[in-house]
Each structure stands twice: as structure tokens, then as C-alpha cells.
């Protein structure tokens, strides 16, 4: 069976993605390898890895209840992430009717920008004050 030309064309479109992927993975791998090669090697043993608690053997592990502030950061991330989800299909068809789409997205982003402004001014992500 002969391959369909359309499919071949699409496959070749993945090449930049593939190149990008290879770059990303190799950059991460490269950084790891280099840091192992160049970093100072220290001898490790279980005693050295244990948490230091006034020289006494630690009683329990170092887990503590997380502050709700982390959760706030997570929620804010999710909300602004949803905003990006809308931006993607918008950007793809932007050329179809630029003026209208620009105005439309300006309203959307504008409202969310005020939300961002509120978060910053309120110090909701400012951890030093509380």
C-alpha cells in the first residue's frame, strides 16, 4: 500500500518538534552530567545524609504541614493556566479578523489583569509580611 502524501507531509512537520525535544532532553542530561563531572565529590554515608538535630539522632522525619500559601500559588497557577488555554486557539486564528479578535481578547485579558493586579497589590503571594 502506498502511503498517503498528506500523512507524509504531516510527519515531516514533526521534525522541528523532534529537534526541539532532542535539544531539551540533551540539555537536561548535559547539565546533570557536567555537574557530576565538575562538582566537588564528597563521600556519602547514611549518617552524613541524616538530618542534623543538635547532634542527637532525629526522632521523626522532617515532614511538616504545608502552609496554605502553597495552595494559593497552585490555584493561581491553575487559573492563569486556563487563561493560556484560551490564548492558544485565539492566536492560531488571529489573522482571520485581527481587529475584532484583538478587542475581544483585550477585554478577557484586561479583566484577568485586574485580578493579577489585585493579587499583587494585596500581597497574596508576598510571603514575608505574614
Amino acid at each position: 500500500m502506498t502511503p498517503c502524501p498528506a500523512v507524509i507531509a504531516t510527519v515531516s512537520e514533526y521534525v522541528p518538534v523532534l529537534v526541539m525535544l532532542i535539544f531539551a532532553v540533551s540539555f537536561a542530561g548535559f547539565s546533570l552530567v557536567v555537574s557530576v563531572l565538575l562538582g566537588k565529590k564528597a563521600p556519602t554515608n547514611p549518617v552524613k545524609d541524616a538530618a542534623y538535630e543538635c547532634g542527637m539522632p532525629p526522632i521523626s522525619d522532617a515532614h511538616q504541614r504545608f502552609s496554605v500559601k502553597f495552595y494559593l500559588v497552585a490555584i493561581l497557577f491553575v487559573l492563569f493556566d486556563i487563561e493560556v488555554v484560551f490564548l492558544y486557539p485565539w492566536a492560531v486564528q488571529f489573522q482571520a479578523m485581527p481587529a475584532f479578535l484583538f478587542a475581544e481578547m483585550l477585554v478577557f485579558i484586561g479583566i484577568l489583569f485586574l485580578g493579577w493586579w489585585y493579587v499583587i497589590r494585596k500581597g497574596a503571594v508576598d510571603w514575608s509580611t505574614e
Binding site: M1, T2, P3, V7, Y71, A74, Q93, M97, L101, I111
Partner: protein, 184 residues
């Protein structure tokens, strides 16, 4: 060899390789996710599994779903998962105590459900399997510009719900701050 393998390989080696590579990553990561005892490690494997799934969507030319899969599932939902696990704050001893529940009945039901769904998938998708895979990939629902197909109605005809969504998101932002911040 199964006809589907033939077709996939015939339809273009790169495509088949990409599809199977993504599938392998998805399944392997899913298995690792179930097997890991540490919930945080499980979540990390789940992220990888989602990314593999996104890759499968790309090979099926559903680009919008693929992007959503990465942004919303691997990004947002996963952050929430991770935070729930961290906020639950399971100690290592608690995790060690968590053996698989010894309920043979549940296992039997899970096994039955698994085989039934495999059977149904094979049964229901036979016509699709028999179809040459390039024809399948060329079908309008799968092919082409799915992002544009979603974007154009969303930003013209369905503009109103889109704009209300911005108020909804703003209310959620305000609410998140109002409920978590100590001093307002």
C-alpha cells in the same frame, strides 16, 4: 502480523514510530505510577503518562486536545494533585503501612471489567481496524486544523460564554485569596 501494524508501517515509518513510542511511554509510565509506593513519585510518573498521551494525540492530529492535555492535565491538574498529596502530608511510616487492600472480590471485579472493556474495544472498533490507517488518519474528524475549527466558533459565535468565563476566573482568583489569606 496484524493488519494494523502493516498499515501503520506502510503509512509512513515516522508516524508509526512516533505513535508506538508515545504509547509505550504512556503505558510504561502508567504502570510505574501504580507501582510506586511514594505518592509524589506516582504523580511524577502520571505526568509522564499524560505527556505520552499528548504525544498520541499529536500523532492522531488532534493538536488542540494535545495542547490541552499538556497545559491543563499535565500542568494544572497535576499541580493540584501534587498539592493535595503534599497537604495531606503522609508520613513515610503511613505510606509503608498502606498495603494493597486484601479484597479478592475487588480484584475479581477489576479483572472482569478489564477483560470486558478490552473485548468491547476490539469488538466495537473492528471496522476501524480494518480500515487502512492512512484513510483513518485522513478522516475529517481527526485530520487537519482542529485548533482553528475550535477557535473560530469560540471567538465569534460563542463569544459571550467566553467573556463570562473571564469574570468567572476573576471571581475564582478573588475567592482563592479571600479564603486563604490570613489578613484581608
Amino acid at each position: 502480523m496484524e493488519p494494523i501494524f502493516h498499515d501503520l508501517l506502510a503509512a509512513g515509518g515516522g508516524h508509526a514510530v512516533a505513535f508506538y513510542a508515545c504509547s509505550a511511554v504512556t503505558i510504561a509510565a502508567a504502570i510505574l505510577m501504580v507501582m510506586k509506593k511514594n505518592p509524589v513519585a506516582s504523580v511524577m510518573w502520571l505526568v509522564l503518562s499524560f505527556i505520552g498521551l499528548a504525544g498520541i494525540y499529536v500523532t492522531l492530529q488532534s493538536y488542540f486536545i494535545a495542547v490541552i492535555q499538556v497545559l491543563v492535565y499535565a500542568g494544572a491538574i497535576m499541580v493540584l494533585f501534587l498539592f493535595v498529596i503534599m497537604l495531606l502530608n503522609l508520613r513515610r511510616e503511613d505510606i509503608a503501612k498502606m498495603e494493597l487492600p486484601k479484597v479478592p472480590f475487588a480484584g475479581v471485579i477489576a479483572a472482569i471489567l478489564f477483560f470486558v472493556s478490552v473485548f468491547l474495544v476490539i469488538k466495537a472498533s473492528t471496522p476501524a481496524f480494518e480500515k487502512p490507517v492512512d484513510a483513518l488518519l485522513g478522516e475529517p474528524a481527526l485530520a487537519g486544523d482542529s485548533v482553528r475549527a475550535i477557535g473560530i466558533p469560540l471567538f465569534s459565535q460563542w463569544l459571550l460564554p467566553f467573556e463570562i468565563t473571564s469574570v468567572l476566573l476573576l471571581a475564582a482568583i478573588v475567592g482563592a485569596v479571600a479564603l486563604t489569606k490570613k489578613k484581608l
